[in-house]
């Protein structure tokens, strides 16, 4: 309520005089325009539209007017208040945009700050390398076979045509479990997995066997008592060396790129006949042996890289493992995973794989 209406005159009520209303409106509009932030505008809103603001007080006087005067006064006040409310709204919108922009500027951070609160983990390249190889074969419709690393001598040697007096048995320096005549060894190759597969499944068989193997080699930059091999075995009707070549060529291309193929050289492995060494066309110099006029380091200038051994499965092996050697033929191949990764990634020292230095492992990420 306004104060006592001392100079009561229905037409001449001071707050309702047009010039008073205009003045109050203009003062409000000026204050709105002058507000520089949302807080100031909030105060302007209280001062000029609140219960004690001139326009609110004036509005309250309308009721005291004689009925014939109310309409005009009401319109005048209403228009003034409307103009103020509109200006407030507009100013509010402008200031809100300004505020948000300013906040966004003020909240700017240095995004180059480190974020490595928990250091990154990584899988081992020997693991991801084995998976990469397995996946190439799985994509061809092969399956992945496994077996134990501590293996029966019979499966590691005899079943694979490495009889007790086979010269090749001395080529592979074997860890024997104690006592030696218990016939249990640390497998010297992943080939016993092939034997196990043939013993437990019927052809057609297409399996790839990555795994850990052991030889009594002294530990140095290129030898290790433990390393990793991947072997493949295909047993089917009508399998030939040509299928072996096709498979290894595809493997080489998938692993090393378009145009990288293999070549065979005659060799000797008891479990295959005919046997071959597989060479990989050097994926760095592409067979030239040199790169930018210098000898290629990857293939030592040979143009080819020794990759592994392979051949047609010896029918004696098929027989020992219960496969009908009259009906089926097969091929097998094997290579070192460690060695393959060494030349694929330029690892100079084999021991890098086994030291466990996280700087080595994390460099490969978690997928090859």
């Amino acid at each position: 309520m306004s104060g006592p209406n001392t100079d009561y005159d229905p037409v001449e009520v001071t707050p309702l005089k047009p010039e008073e209303v205009e003045s109050a409106r203009d003062a409000a509009l000026a204050a709105i325009a002058a507000a520089t932030d949302l807080a100031e505008l909030k105060q302007v809103r209280i001062d000029h539209t609140g219960d004690r603001s001139p326009l609110a007080l004036a509005n309250r006087e309308i009721g005291a007017l004689p009925p014939q005067a109310r309409k005009e006064a009401g319109q005048r006040i209403g228009q003034a208040r409307g103009a103020v409310a509109k200006a407030l709204g507009e100013r509010q919108a402008v200031l809100e945009v300004e505020h948000e922009e300013r906040m966004l500027v003020e909240e700017t951070v240095d995004v180059t700050l480190p974020t490595d609160r928990v250091p990154a983990g990584a899988r081992h390249p020997l693991t991801t390398g084995a998976e990469l190889i397995a996946d190439i074969f799985v994509a061809m419709g092969w399956e992945v076979a496994e077996g134990p690393v501590i293996e029966a001598e019979w499966l590691n040697f005899d079943a694979l045509n490495l009889g007790p007096d086979h010269p090749a048995r001395t080529m592979q320096d074997t860890f024997w479990t104690d006592p030696q005549d218990n016939g249990v060894v640390l497998r010297t190759h992943t080939s016993p997995v092939q034997a196990r597969t043939m013993l437990t499944r019927t052809p057609p068989i297409y399996v790839v066997c990555p795994g850990r193997v052991f030889r009594t080699d002294e530990y140095d930059a290129t030898h290790s008592p433990m390393f990793h091999q991947v072997e493949g075995l295909a047993i089917d009707e009508g399998i030939t060396m040509a299928h072996l070549k096709g498979t290894l060529d595809h493997f080489a291309t998938a692993m090393f790129g378009e145009g990288i193929t293999t070549r065979f050289r005659p060799s000797f492995f008891p479990f295959t006949e005919p046997s071959a060494e597989v060479d990989l066309l050097c994926f760095v110099c592409r067979g030239a042996g040199e790169l930018d006029g210098a000898r290629c380091r990857t293939c030592r200038g040979e143009g080819w890289i020794e990759w592994g051994g392979c051949g047609v499965v010896n029918p004696r092996v098929l027989t020992a493992c219960g496969v009908d050697a009259e009906r089926y033929t097969g091929f097998a191949f094997g290579m070192g995973i460690d060695r393959t990764l060494m030349f694929r990634h330029g690892v100079e020292d084999l021991r890098g794989f086994f030291e466990g230095d996280v700087r080595f492992t994390t460099a490969f990420g978690s997928e090859l």
Binding site: G141, W142, E151, N182, L186, A242, T319, A320
Partner: protein
């Protein structure tokens, strides 16, 4: 096998412009693997000539040495024809000798450039060379004195010294023992170039008679052929001719004396190891038999050996005089006084040779050939060749008798279908090609319809099976002609679920910030001691190795922790402030069920036989181990860092279990190597699968790890076995959630998991989730008491819960907790 190219050319008519590299490549394609090509003269350039010493004036020096001031006729090689003045420190020559001179401008091995230089008061214009200076060996200290007929002064010395020789070194596979001879390598060269070949063993030999040295072979299976010849009047001082010395050296053997050199030369030439006895030291009949129990022999390497009853021995009336085919005895060895030589060329059973060599750890050039199989038909020719060379260069004469005991075994025949090579190799090989190539490698081939019967040549004992013939045909056709054809396996099923889950394990742990390591599984007592395992801990019961690389680590490990903790310590030692590692690998527990049987290979083992085999193997579960040492979260602009502790270890286990879809629980345990108050036993369906927690302080100290390092070891096979194959989809409500917090005060001895379980049980079906969010101990709850604050979330599947329903469920939960654990609701 090192083969001088000129020696190969002696037996095979190779194109004159053929390079050694090209020859080596062709032979590699046939299966003789190139190891290296050696060119001894490669490192010498410039004038290296024959010189004749004209004068030689010894001049004593102040330093006590005497040098020789020499003038040497080097013909026109110095451009002037005048004698060359050279200072020489050696004394093993005299005026008139032919020597090797390198003139100024020449470069010797090691980049040693020769120039005229002032020394000992003379200008020395060149150098008189020793073998060592030319890279020809280490043996001679003095300079090389050439034979008088070696050449004229001024001629190049390269040819005289064999420096223009090229040597191909092959790695000979076990099946190609015939290529351990020039005879065999030359035969392959002839095959490669379809060239004329002269077999060095094709020679007229005198017929056997009964006038030769008496020999009795009591074990014809072990020694099917024994040929003996005798040379008497031999001059033990006669030198080995230079050409022979040179070839023996180029082949990688050491020249010793004429008699020994001749036997080695003939072995290199023919592949047949020869043994020479000092015939004057032999007593009575030479016999071949197996050794008897308790017999011993001192072999010519000076080793006294206890013999096995499987060893083949050569005896005379004095007893055992040699380990047949492997190594001779000391007593009858040829020496510097030997004038009568008994030449033995015998064929020995390869398996016996292999076993004897292995048993006595003898690796010799003779043994290497005998154990792989030598042509049994060339004993007479080889012996005759030895006699020829001994009499030619050592004087003396062949005694008339020729002893030949036994006959070579019948040749092997193999019958194949003519199209077998084509069927196995995938190459287009017609029967005519097969026949031609089999004949080229020495087989006699008889045709019978579609079948071919090959009679294997005697130098190829490796050819036994039909597929062996396939390889012979394939390598002659050329492996380069094998087409590249992808096989067409049926549709595959991809990885098994177990295989996919194992990959998941690695990804989860890498995602949790752990780095995978691969360690050796070898372990010793020291590692178990470091882990603080009690003496009777089952982990100490290991699969032991008969031949460990190190006696410190003689067993296959039962736990991955030693390798992993060492790797962690290595990282810390290299400056890492925090390290999180994991490893998956098999461990082994002995089966203690005796030996794994060895079966034959002519048939598949029966199911029972196979089961017996597998049963003897150790249990080899796949384990997972994790170590978290030092800084787990780094300090940074965000605030303080955090050291790893027991909770991180258990968190890794829970995270992994969640990723695998397996529910694990933990309960308190106390077992080394963990901290007795901070060790959790991990269970799945009530079965223990491993442990996680903080390591015992002593273990951290013994491995050099930061205090409070934590570790996990799980039986991954057991964990993965419980992963559900097909996970059923969950059902959940979308009605509003009702949240209730309760704080319960319990005795310190009460486990949070037990309170949680009681709350769950009491809350009933409306409880959606429950989480312990605060643990408080202190004055407000009293001595020996702990306050546990839980956030409970309730939700019904079909309606919005009323306040009353929620309150009732909460009260029921608290009541059950009070009942089971003595929990009191905190005021």
């Amino acid at each position: 096998m090192k083969t001088p190219v000129s020696w190969i050319r002696e037996y095979v008519d190779l194109p004159t412009d053929l390079t050694t590299e090209a020859l080596a490549a062709e032979l590699t394609d046939l299966g003789l693997k190139l190891e290296a090509i050696e060119k001894p003269g490669d490192q010498i350039t410039g004038p290296l000539v024959v010189g004749r010493v004209l004068t030689m004036d010894p001049e004593p020096q102040k330093n006590g040495k005497t040098i020789n001031w020499c003038t040497v006729d080097v013909g026109d090689a110095n451009g002037t024809g005048e004698p060359q003045g050279i200072v020489c420190g050696a004394h093993n020559f005299a005026p008139g000798d032919l020597v090797v001179v390198v003139l100024p401008g020449g470069v010797l091995p090691g980049g040693f450039a020769i120039s005229a230089r002032k020394t000992y008061g003379h200008v020395s214009a060149g150098m008189i060379c020793s073998a060592r200076e030319l890279g020809l060996g280490e043996d001679h200290d003095g300079i090389i004195v050439l034979p008088q007929d070696a050449g004229k002064p001024g001629e190049s010395a390269f040819g005289v010294l064999g420096l223009d020789e090229e040597v191909i070194e092959f790695e000979i596979n076990p099946d190609r023992a015939y290529a351990l001879s020039l005879r065999g390598v030359a035969r392959e060269a002839a095959l490669a170039y379809d060239a004329w070949y002269t077999d060095p063993t094709q020679r007229d030999v005198p017929p056997a008679d009964d006038q030769g040295y008496p020999v009795v072979v009591e074990d014809p299976a072990g020694c099917p052929v024994f040929v003996a010849r005798t040379v008497s009047g031999f001059d033990p001082a006669a030198p080995t001719p230079d050409w022979m010395v040179q070839r023996i050296q180029l082949a990688g053997m050491r020249p010793i004396s004429l008699a020994v050199d001749v036997t080695n030369y003939v072995m290199l030439e023919t592949g047949r190891p020869i043994h020479g006895y000092d015939a004057d030291k032999l007593q009575g009949t030479v016999r071949v038999r197996r050794a008897r129990e308790g017999e011993r022999l001192t072999t010519l390497d000076g080793t006294d050996r206890a013999l096995s009853t499987e060893d083949l021995v050569v005896t005379d009336d004095s007893g055992i005089i040699g380990l047949g085919g492997v190594m001779g005895g000391e007593a009858t060895e040829m020496s510097a006084t030997t004038t009568r030589v008994l030449v033995e060329a015998a064929h020995w059973d390869a398996v016996a040779m292999f076993r004897t060599g292995k048993r006595h750890k003898i690796s010799s050039e003779a043994g290497k050939r005998n154990e792989r199989g030598v042509d049994p038909t060339i004993c007479e020719a080889a012996a005759d060749r030895v006699v020829e060379l001994l009499t030619t260069y050592g004087g003396g004469m062949a005694e008339p008798g020729v002893t030949v005991v036994g006959t070579p075994p019948e040749p092997t025949t193999i019958t194949i279908e003519a199209d077998l090579p084509a069927r196995v190799t995938g190459m287009e090989i017609d029967p005519a090609t097969t026949i031609r190539h089999l004949r080229a490698v020495g087989c006699e081939v008889a045709e019978d319809g579609t079948r071919l019967t090959a009679t294997v040549p005697p130098w190829r004992p490796d050819l036994v099976d039909p597929f062996d013939l396939v390889e012979e045909v394939a390598r002659v056709v050329g492996y380069g002609n094998v087409p590249s054809v992808l096989p067409t396996p049926g549709a595959g099923r991809g990885l098994t679920r177990a295989q996919r889950l194992r990959r998941r394990v690695g990804r989860t742990l890498a995602g949790a910030g752990c780095v995978e390591v691969v360690s050796f599984p070898f372990v010793g007592e020291a590692a178990f001691d470091q882990l603080g395992l009690p003496a009777d801990d089952p982990l100490r019961h290991t699969v032991r190795l008969a031949n460990p690389l190190s006696n410190e680590e003689p067993a296959y490990t039962t736990t991955l922790l030693p390798g992993l903790l060492k790797a962690a310590a290595r990282n810390v030692g290299r400056g890492a402030t925090g390290v999180a590692l994991f490893e998956t690998g098999t461990v082994a527990f002995p089966s203690d069920r005796g030996a794994a049987p060895i079966y034959g290979v002519d048939r598949r083992p029966t199911v029972e036989e196979l089961a017996a085999l597998l049963d003897a193997l150790p249990a080899q579960p796949l384990h997972l181990a994790v170590v978290l040492a030092g800084e787990r979260e780094r300090a940074g602009w965000w605030g303080e860092g955090r050291e790893a502790g027991w909770a991180d270890a258990i968190a890794v286990v829970r995270r992994l279990a969640a990723d695998l879809g397996v529910a694990v629980t933990v309960e308190a345990d106390a077992r080394m190597p963990w901290h007795p108050g901070r060790c959790a036993r991990v269970l799945v369906d009530g079965t223990e699968i491993g442990r996680a927690g903080e390591l015992h302080p002593k273990v951290c100290a013994s491995f050099g790890l930061p205090k409070r390092s934590a570790a996990v070891e799980l039986d991954l096979d057991a964990l993965l076995a419980r992963a559900v194959d097909v996970v059923p989809a969950p059902e959940f409500s979308t009605y509003p959630v009702a949240k209730e917090d309760v704080a319960l005060v319990v005795d310190d001895s009460v486990r949070a998991a037990d309170v949680e379980a009681a709350l769950r049980e009491g809350a009933g079906e409306l409880l959606e989730s429950l989480r312990l969010f605060d643990v408080y101990t202190g004055e407000q709850v009293g001595e020996g008491r702990t306050s546990l604050a839980f956030a409970l979330r309730f939700r019904a599947p079909d309606r919005t819960l009323t306040e009353e329903e929620t309150a009732a469920a909460r009260e029921a939960a608290v009541a059950r907790a009070a009942e089971l654990t003595g929990a009191q609701q905190r005021a």
